[in-house]
Amino acid sequence: MGGTHRGAGGREGIAMTQTKATRQIHFHVTRYNPEKDPKPYVQSYKVEVSEGMTVLDGLHWIKENLDPTLVWRYSCRMGICGSCGMLINGSPTLACNTQILHLSQSAITVGPLPNFEIIRDLVPDLLSMFEKHETVKPHIIRDEAELVDRRGEFYQSPEELEAYLQFTYCIKCGCCMGACPTLATDVRYLGPMPLTALERYNEDSRDEGFALRKGMAGGDGGAFSCHYAGECSRVCPKGVDPGKAIQLLKRKLVLDYLHLANKKKPCKKLEGPGQGKLLPNMTAPARTIPE
Protein backbone atom coordinates (compact mmCIF):
# COMPACT_ATOMS: atom_id res chain seq x y z
CA MET A 1 0.00 0.00 0.00
CA GLY A 2 1.31 3.43 -0.78
CA GLY A 3 4.57 3.85 -2.64
CA THR A 4 4.45 3.23 -6.36
CA HIS A 5 1.48 3.10 -8.69
CA ARG A 6 1.77 1.70 -12.18
CA GLY A 7 -0.19 3.65 -14.73
CA ALA A 8 -2.85 2.03 -16.90
CA GLY A 9 -1.22 3.03 -20.19
CA GLY A 10 -1.16 -0.52 -21.45
CA ARG A 11 1.95 -0.02 -23.63
CA GLU A 12 5.08 -1.73 -22.55
CA GLY A 13 7.84 0.57 -21.47
CA ILE A 14 5.68 3.64 -21.10
CA ALA A 15 4.39 2.78 -17.66
CA MET A 16 3.97 5.93 -15.63
CA THR A 17 5.10 5.85 -12.06
CA GLN A 18 3.89 8.10 -9.33
CA THR A 19 5.33 8.19 -5.87
CA LYS A 20 3.14 9.26 -3.00
CA ALA A 21 4.61 10.36 0.26
CA THR A 22 3.56 8.14 3.12
CA ARG A 23 3.32 8.80 6.79
CA GLN A 24 2.93 6.48 9.73
CA ILE A 25 -0.30 7.04 11.60
CA HIS A 26 -1.23 5.22 14.78
CA PHE A 27 -4.68 3.68 14.59
CA HIS A 28 -6.13 3.06 18.05
CA VAL A 29 -8.94 0.66 17.25
CA THR A 30 -11.56 -0.66 19.67
CA ARG A 31 -11.63 -4.45 19.61
CA TYR A 32 -14.30 -6.67 21.11
CA ASN A 33 -15.34 -10.23 20.60
CA PRO A 34 -18.32 -10.90 22.89
CA GLU A 35 -17.55 -14.63 22.86
CA LYS A 36 -14.04 -14.13 24.25
CA ASP A 37 -13.55 -10.67 25.69
CA PRO A 38 -15.13 -9.52 28.95
CA LYS A 39 -15.20 -5.95 27.68
CA PRO A 40 -13.97 -3.86 24.73
CA TYR A 41 -10.31 -2.89 24.64
CA VAL A 42 -8.14 -0.72 22.40
CA GLN A 43 -5.51 -2.18 20.09
CA SER A 44 -2.99 0.06 18.31
CA TYR A 45 -1.62 -0.36 14.80
CA LYS A 46 0.93 1.60 12.78
CA VAL A 47 -0.51 2.28 9.35
CA GLU A 48 1.34 3.53 6.28
CA VAL A 49 -0.89 6.37 5.13
CA SER A 50 -0.62 8.30 1.88
CA GLU A 51 -2.58 11.33 0.84
CA GLY A 52 -6.17 10.56 -0.06
CA MET A 53 -6.47 7.42 2.05
CA THR A 54 -9.70 7.16 3.96
CA VAL A 55 -10.17 5.58 7.36
CA LEU A 56 -11.82 2.68 5.54
CA ASP A 57 -8.66 2.28 3.42
CA GLY A 58 -6.64 2.32 6.62
CA LEU A 59 -8.74 -0.48 8.10
CA HIS A 60 -8.29 -2.51 4.92
CA TRP A 61 -4.53 -1.93 5.17
CA ILE A 62 -4.54 -3.23 8.73
CA LYS A 63 -6.57 -6.30 7.73
CA GLU A 64 -4.31 -7.08 4.76
CA ASN A 65 -0.97 -6.37 6.41
CA LEU A 66 -1.26 -6.60 10.18
CA ASP A 67 -4.34 -8.24 11.59
CA PRO A 68 -6.81 -10.30 9.53
CA THR A 69 -9.11 -10.72 12.53
CA LEU A 70 -10.23 -7.09 12.56
CA VAL A 71 -13.95 -6.82 11.75
CA TRP A 72 -16.02 -3.93 10.47
CA ARG A 73 -18.98 -3.41 8.15
CA TYR A 74 -18.79 -1.65 4.80
CA SER A 75 -20.19 -1.89 1.31
CA CYS A 76 -20.20 0.93 -1.24
CA ARG A 77 -17.02 2.85 -0.25
CA MET A 78 -18.54 6.10 -1.49
CA GLY A 79 -20.82 7.45 1.23
CA ILE A 80 -24.02 6.06 -0.19
CA CYS A 81 -24.88 2.85 1.62
CA GLY A 82 -24.32 4.02 5.20
CA SER A 83 -22.71 0.76 6.31
CA CYS A 84 -19.40 2.06 7.65
CA GLY A 85 -20.65 4.43 10.35
CA MET A 86 -18.04 4.50 13.13
CA LEU A 87 -16.82 6.64 15.97
CA ILE A 88 -13.73 8.27 14.48
CA ASN A 89 -11.76 10.59 16.73
CA GLY A 90 -14.78 10.75 19.02
CA SER A 91 -17.25 11.74 16.33
CA PRO A 92 -19.69 9.42 14.57
CA THR A 93 -19.08 9.51 10.84
CA LEU A 94 -18.58 7.35 7.76
CA ALA A 95 -15.16 5.70 7.48
CA CYS A 96 -15.29 5.85 3.68
CA ASN A 97 -15.96 9.58 3.71
CA THR A 98 -13.19 10.55 6.09
CA GLN A 99 -9.63 11.09 4.97
CA ILE A 100 -7.06 10.13 7.55
CA LEU A 101 -4.70 13.06 7.02
CA HIS A 102 -7.57 15.50 7.32
CA LEU A 103 -8.02 14.28 10.88
CA SER A 104 -4.52 13.94 12.19
CA GLN A 105 -0.87 13.70 11.23
CA SER A 106 -0.03 11.28 14.02
CA ALA A 107 -2.85 9.22 15.50
CA ILE A 108 -6.58 8.56 15.22
CA THR A 109 -9.04 6.56 17.27
CA VAL A 110 -11.62 4.29 15.68
CA GLY A 111 -14.47 2.68 17.61
CA PRO A 112 -17.95 1.31 17.01
CA LEU A 113 -20.95 3.68 17.00
CA PRO A 114 -22.06 4.44 20.57
CA ASN A 115 -25.61 3.77 21.79
CA PHE A 116 -25.68 0.35 20.10
CA GLU A 117 -24.71 -3.12 21.21
CA ILE A 118 -21.46 -4.30 19.64
CA ILE A 119 -21.64 -7.40 17.47
CA ARG A 120 -17.87 -7.49 17.08
CA ASP A 121 -15.03 -4.95 16.93
CA LEU A 122 -16.39 -2.03 14.87
CA VAL A 123 -19.73 -3.60 13.96
CA PRO A 124 -22.70 -2.14 15.86
CA ASP A 125 -26.00 -3.97 16.11
CA LEU A 126 -28.35 -1.59 14.28
CA LEU A 127 -31.42 -3.76 14.86
CA SER A 128 -32.78 -1.51 17.62
CA MET A 129 -32.65 1.47 15.24
CA PHE A 130 -34.44 -0.36 12.44
CA GLU A 131 -37.09 -1.69 14.82
CA LYS A 132 -37.83 1.86 15.95
CA HIS A 133 -37.78 2.99 12.33
CA GLU A 134 -40.44 0.42 11.48
CA THR A 135 -42.75 1.60 14.26
CA VAL A 136 -43.09 5.11 12.77
CA LYS A 137 -44.65 3.71 9.57
CA PRO A 138 -42.04 5.15 7.19
CA HIS A 139 -44.04 4.87 4.01
CA ILE A 140 -46.78 6.71 2.14
CA ILE A 141 -50.14 6.06 3.76
CA ARG A 142 -53.16 6.64 1.55
CA ASP A 143 -56.34 5.01 0.49
CA GLU A 144 -55.27 1.53 -0.56
CA ALA A 145 -57.44 1.54 -3.69
CA GLU A 146 -55.72 4.72 -4.89
CA LEU A 147 -52.28 3.22 -4.37
CA VAL A 148 -53.12 -0.02 -6.12
CA ASP A 149 -54.67 1.70 -9.13
CA ARG A 150 -51.82 2.12 -11.60
CA ARG A 151 -53.48 4.90 -13.54
CA GLY A 152 -52.38 8.47 -13.06
CA GLU A 153 -49.85 9.94 -10.67
CA PHE A 154 -49.84 11.99 -7.50
CA TYR A 155 -49.12 15.57 -8.42
CA GLN A 156 -46.56 17.29 -6.21
CA SER A 157 -45.33 20.83 -6.75
CA PRO A 158 -41.61 21.71 -6.42
CA GLU A 159 -42.46 23.59 -3.20
CA GLU A 160 -44.16 20.54 -1.75
CA LEU A 161 -41.15 18.43 -2.65
CA GLU A 162 -38.82 20.97 -1.07
CA ALA A 163 -40.68 20.63 2.25
CA TYR A 164 -39.29 17.16 2.84
CA LEU A 165 -36.55 16.68 0.25
CA GLN A 166 -33.56 17.02 2.55
CA PHE A 167 -34.95 14.38 4.90
CA THR A 168 -34.98 11.86 2.05
CA TYR A 169 -31.18 12.05 1.87
CA CYS A 170 -30.91 10.02 5.08
CA ILE A 171 -28.99 6.78 4.44
CA LYS A 172 -29.75 5.18 7.83
CA CYS A 173 -26.09 4.97 8.78
CA GLY A 174 -26.88 5.48 12.47
CA CYS A 175 -24.36 8.30 13.01
CA CYS A 176 -27.08 10.59 14.40
CA MET A 177 -28.20 7.83 16.77
CA GLY A 178 -24.63 7.37 17.94
CA ALA A 179 -24.25 11.09 18.59
CA CYS A 180 -27.55 11.61 20.43
CA PRO A 181 -27.03 12.30 24.15
CA THR A 182 -30.70 11.65 24.92
CA LEU A 183 -30.53 8.20 23.40
CA ALA A 184 -27.41 7.52 25.46
CA THR A 185 -29.45 7.80 28.64
CA ASP A 186 -32.95 6.80 27.53
CA VAL A 187 -33.21 3.71 25.36
CA ARG A 188 -36.96 4.23 24.94
CA TYR A 189 -36.33 7.41 22.94
CA LEU A 190 -36.98 6.77 19.26
CA GLY A 191 -33.95 8.78 18.25
CA PRO A 192 -33.16 11.23 15.44
CA MET A 193 -33.27 8.85 12.48
CA PRO A 194 -36.76 7.35 13.05
CA LEU A 195 -38.21 10.75 14.00
CA THR A 196 -36.72 12.32 10.87
CA ALA A 197 -38.23 9.54 8.78
CA LEU A 198 -41.55 10.15 10.52
CA GLU A 199 -41.43 13.85 9.74
CA ARG A 200 -40.32 13.15 6.17
CA TYR A 201 -43.61 11.33 5.53
CA ASN A 202 -45.66 13.84 7.52
CA GLU A 203 -44.38 16.59 5.23
CA ASP A 204 -45.02 14.60 2.09
CA SER A 205 -48.06 16.07 0.33
CA ARG A 206 -49.03 12.60 -0.93
CA ASP A 207 -49.30 11.21 2.58
CA GLU A 208 -52.39 10.96 4.80
CA GLY A 209 -50.85 9.13 7.73
CA PHE A 210 -50.33 11.88 10.33
CA ALA A 211 -53.28 10.69 12.41
CA LEU A 212 -51.73 7.23 12.58
CA ARG A 213 -48.26 8.51 13.45
CA LYS A 214 -48.99 11.29 15.91
CA GLY A 215 -49.55 8.95 18.85
CA MET A 216 -46.08 7.53 18.38
CA ALA A 217 -44.55 10.95 17.65
CA GLY A 218 -45.97 12.61 20.76
CA GLY A 219 -45.88 9.66 23.13
CA ASP A 220 -43.21 8.43 25.52
CA GLY A 221 -39.89 8.37 23.69
CA GLY A 222 -41.26 10.59 20.93
CA ALA A 223 -40.31 14.04 19.72
CA PHE A 224 -40.78 15.70 23.11
CA SER A 225 -37.97 13.63 24.60
CA CYS A 226 -35.52 15.48 22.33
CA HIS A 227 -33.40 17.97 24.26
CA TYR A 228 -32.25 19.64 21.07
CA ALA A 229 -28.54 19.14 21.67
CA GLY A 230 -28.14 19.34 17.89
CA GLU A 231 -25.38 16.71 17.69
CA CYS A 232 -27.43 14.64 15.24
CA SER A 233 -27.46 17.51 12.75
CA ARG A 234 -23.76 18.23 13.28
CA VAL A 235 -22.54 14.72 12.57
CA CYS A 236 -24.86 13.71 9.72
CA PRO A 237 -22.57 12.78 6.81
CA LYS A 238 -25.30 13.54 4.28
CA GLY A 239 -26.12 17.03 5.54
CA VAL A 240 -29.57 16.07 6.79
CA ASP A 241 -30.84 18.14 9.71
CA PRO A 242 -32.64 15.73 12.07
CA GLY A 243 -32.78 18.43 14.76
CA LYS A 244 -34.87 20.56 12.44
CA ALA A 245 -37.11 17.62 11.55
CA ILE A 246 -37.82 16.99 15.24
CA GLN A 247 -38.58 20.67 15.91
CA LEU A 248 -40.94 20.74 12.92
CA LEU A 249 -42.58 17.62 14.26
CA LYS A 250 -43.06 19.20 17.69
CA ARG A 251 -44.65 22.26 16.09
CA LYS A 252 -46.94 20.11 14.01
CA LEU A 253 -48.05 18.10 17.05
CA VAL A 254 -48.70 21.19 19.18
CA LEU A 255 -50.63 22.98 16.43
CA ASP A 256 -52.66 19.83 15.87
CA TYR A 257 -53.45 19.60 19.59
CA LEU A 258 -54.54 23.24 19.66
CA HIS A 259 -56.59 22.73 16.47
CA LEU A 260 -54.52 25.42 14.76
CA ALA A 261 -52.90 23.15 12.19
CA ASN A 262 -53.33 24.03 8.58
CA LYS A 263 -55.67 21.34 7.33
CA LYS A 264 -54.06 20.70 3.99
CA LYS A 265 -55.66 18.11 1.83
CA PRO A 266 -53.28 15.56 0.38
CA CYS A 267 -52.42 16.03 -3.24
CA LYS A 268 -54.75 14.60 -5.81
CA LYS A 269 -54.06 11.96 -8.31
CA LEU A 270 -53.71 13.51 -11.74
CA GLU A 271 -53.42 11.93 -15.07
CA GLY A 272 -51.06 14.46 -16.56
CA PRO A 273 -49.94 18.02 -15.94
CA GLY A 274 -53.04 20.15 -15.59
CA GLN A 275 -55.35 17.42 -16.79
CA GLY A 276 -58.30 15.93 -15.04
CA LYS A 277 -58.91 12.85 -17.12
CA LEU A 278 -57.79 9.35 -16.36
CA LEU A 279 -55.06 7.97 -18.52
CA PRO A 280 -55.83 4.68 -20.20
CA ASN A 281 -54.60 1.60 -18.42
CA MET A 282 -50.83 1.50 -18.71
CA THR A 283 -49.25 -1.57 -20.15
CA ALA A 284 -45.68 -2.73 -19.88
CA PRO A 285 -43.47 -1.56 -22.77
CA ALA A 286 -42.53 -4.04 -25.43
CA ARG A 287 -39.26 -5.85 -24.97
CA THR A 288 -36.32 -3.95 -26.37
CA ILE A 289 -33.85 -6.82 -26.05
CA PRO A 290 -34.55 -9.75 -28.30
CA GLU A 291 -35.12 -13.00 -26.43
Partner: protein
Protein backbone atom coordinates in the same frame (compact mmCIF):
# COMPACT_ATOMS: atom_id res chain seq x y z
CA UNK B 1 -53.91 12.58 20.90
CA UNK B 2 -51.13 11.33 23.12
CA UNK B 3 -50.78 12.82 26.58
CA UNK B 4 -47.16 13.69 25.79
CA UNK B 5 -48.22 16.38 23.33
CA UNK B 6 -50.86 17.73 25.69
CA UNK B 7 -48.59 17.96 28.74
CA UNK B 8 -45.72 19.42 26.72
CA UNK B 9 -47.94 22.07 25.12
CA UNK B 10 -49.12 23.20 28.55
CA UNK B 11 -45.55 23.06 29.82
CA UNK B 12 -44.48 25.51 27.10
CA UNK B 13 -47.55 27.70 27.62
CA UNK B 14 -46.86 27.78 31.37
CA UNK B 15 -43.30 28.83 30.61
CA UNK B 16 -44.48 31.81 28.57
CA UNK B 17 -46.96 32.89 31.25
CA UNK B 18 -44.25 32.39 33.87
CA UNK B 19 -41.94 34.67 31.96
CA UNK B 20 -44.56 37.43 31.91
CA UNK B 21 -45.61 37.06 35.57
CA UNK B 22 -42.05 36.78 36.85
CA UNK B 23 -41.17 39.87 34.83
CA UNK B 24 -44.03 41.73 36.46
CA UNK B 25 -43.01 40.45 39.88
CA UNK B 26 -39.38 41.55 39.40
CA UNK B 27 -40.51 44.92 38.10
CA UNK B 28 -42.71 45.55 41.13
CA UNK B 29 -40.18 44.25 43.66
CA UNK B 30 -37.10 46.01 42.30
CA UNK B 31 -38.35 49.07 40.48
CA UNK B 32 -41.80 49.61 41.91
CA UNK B 33 -40.56 51.78 44.81
CA UNK B 34 -38.40 54.11 42.77
CA UNK B 35 -40.98 54.78 40.05
CA UNK B 36 -44.01 54.30 42.32
CA UNK B 37 -45.30 51.44 40.23
CA UNK B 38 -47.90 49.61 42.32
CA UNK B 39 -46.27 51.16 45.39
CA UNK B 40 -48.12 54.35 46.37
CA UNK B 41 -46.82 54.39 49.98
CA UNK B 42 -43.20 55.42 49.76
CA UNK B 43 -40.08 54.20 48.00
CA UNK B 44 -39.91 50.84 49.75
CA UNK B 45 -41.85 48.48 47.48
CA UNK B 46 -41.94 45.71 50.08
CA UNK B 47 -43.05 47.81 53.02
CA UNK B 48 -46.17 46.65 54.90
CA UNK B 49 -48.27 49.51 53.52
CA UNK B 50 -47.31 48.89 49.90
CA UNK B 51 -47.70 45.12 50.28
CA UNK B 52 -51.14 45.54 51.82
CA UNK B 53 -52.12 47.95 49.07
CA UNK B 54 -51.22 45.37 46.42
CA UNK B 55 -52.78 42.50 48.36
CA UNK B 56 -56.06 44.39 48.53
CA UNK B 57 -56.28 44.41 44.71
CA UNK B 58 -58.05 41.37 43.33
CA UNK B 59 -55.88 41.39 40.18
CA UNK B 60 -52.75 40.96 42.32
CA UNK B 61 -54.30 38.13 44.29
CA UNK B 62 -55.20 36.39 41.04
CA UNK B 63 -51.72 37.00 39.61
CA UNK B 64 -50.13 35.43 42.72
CA UNK B 65 -52.31 32.34 42.40
CA UNK B 66 -51.64 32.15 38.67
CA UNK B 67 -47.88 32.54 39.20
CA UNK B 68 -47.97 29.79 41.77
CA UNK B 69 -49.96 27.49 39.46
CA UNK B 70 -47.85 27.92 36.35
CA UNK B 71 -44.62 27.83 38.36
CA UNK B 72 -45.58 24.58 40.03
CA UNK B 73 -46.79 22.97 36.81
CA UNK B 74 -43.75 24.07 34.80
CA UNK B 75 -41.28 23.10 37.48
CA UNK B 76 -42.81 19.79 38.52
CA UNK B 77 -43.42 18.68 34.94
CA UNK B 78 -39.78 19.45 34.19
CA UNK B 79 -38.73 17.46 37.25
CA UNK B 80 -40.95 14.56 36.14
CA UNK B 81 -39.32 14.59 32.70
CA UNK B 82 -35.87 14.38 34.27
CA UNK B 83 -36.90 11.58 36.62
CA UNK B 84 -38.61 9.57 33.88
CA UNK B 85 -35.49 9.77 31.74
CA UNK B 86 -33.81 7.59 34.32
CA UNK B 87 -35.76 4.84 32.51
CA UNK B 88 -37.80 3.88 35.53
CA UNK B 89 -40.01 0.83 35.47
CA UNK B 90 -43.62 1.69 34.43
CA UNK B 91 -45.01 1.20 37.95
CA UNK B 92 -42.36 3.43 39.45
CA UNK B 93 -42.89 6.05 36.74
CA UNK B 94 -46.60 6.11 37.60
CA UNK B 95 -45.79 6.43 41.29
CA UNK B 96 -43.45 9.36 40.57
CA UNK B 97 -46.17 11.07 38.51
CA UNK B 98 -48.76 10.48 41.25
CA UNK B 99 -46.41 11.79 43.95
CA UNK B 100 -45.64 14.94 41.96
CA UNK B 101 -49.34 15.56 41.27
CA UNK B 102 -50.12 15.24 44.98
CA UNK B 103 -47.22 17.52 45.99
CA UNK B 104 -48.19 20.03 43.30
CA UNK B 105 -51.86 20.13 44.25
CA UNK B 106 -50.99 20.36 47.93
CA UNK B 107 -48.61 23.28 47.44
CA UNK B 108 -51.04 24.98 45.09
CA UNK B 109 -53.86 24.66 47.62
CA UNK B 110 -51.71 25.97 50.45
CA UNK B 111 -50.32 28.87 48.39
CA UNK B 112 -53.71 29.83 47.00
CA UNK B 113 -55.22 29.83 50.48
CA UNK B 114 -52.38 32.08 51.69
CA UNK B 115 -52.76 34.51 48.76
CA UNK B 116 -56.52 34.71 49.23
CA UNK B 117 -56.18 35.12 52.99
CA UNK B 118 -53.71 37.99 52.46
CA UNK B 119 -56.21 39.58 50.07
CA UNK B 120 -59.14 39.37 52.50
CA UNK B 121 -56.98 40.62 55.39
CA UNK B 122 -55.76 43.56 53.29
CA UNK B 123 -59.32 44.41 52.35
CA UNK B 124 -60.25 44.97 55.99
CA UNK B 125 -57.18 47.08 56.59
CA UNK B 126 -54.85 44.51 58.07
CA UNK B 127 -57.05 43.83 61.09
CA UNK B 128 -58.05 40.30 60.11
Amino acid sequence: MSNGTKYWTWHMAAGVVLLFLLGLHMLVMHMGGSVHLFAPHGADAVSMENSQWRDSKICFAISYILLLGVGLYHGLYGLRTILLELTLKPALAKAVTAALVIVGLGLFGLGSWAAWAAHTVALVGGKG
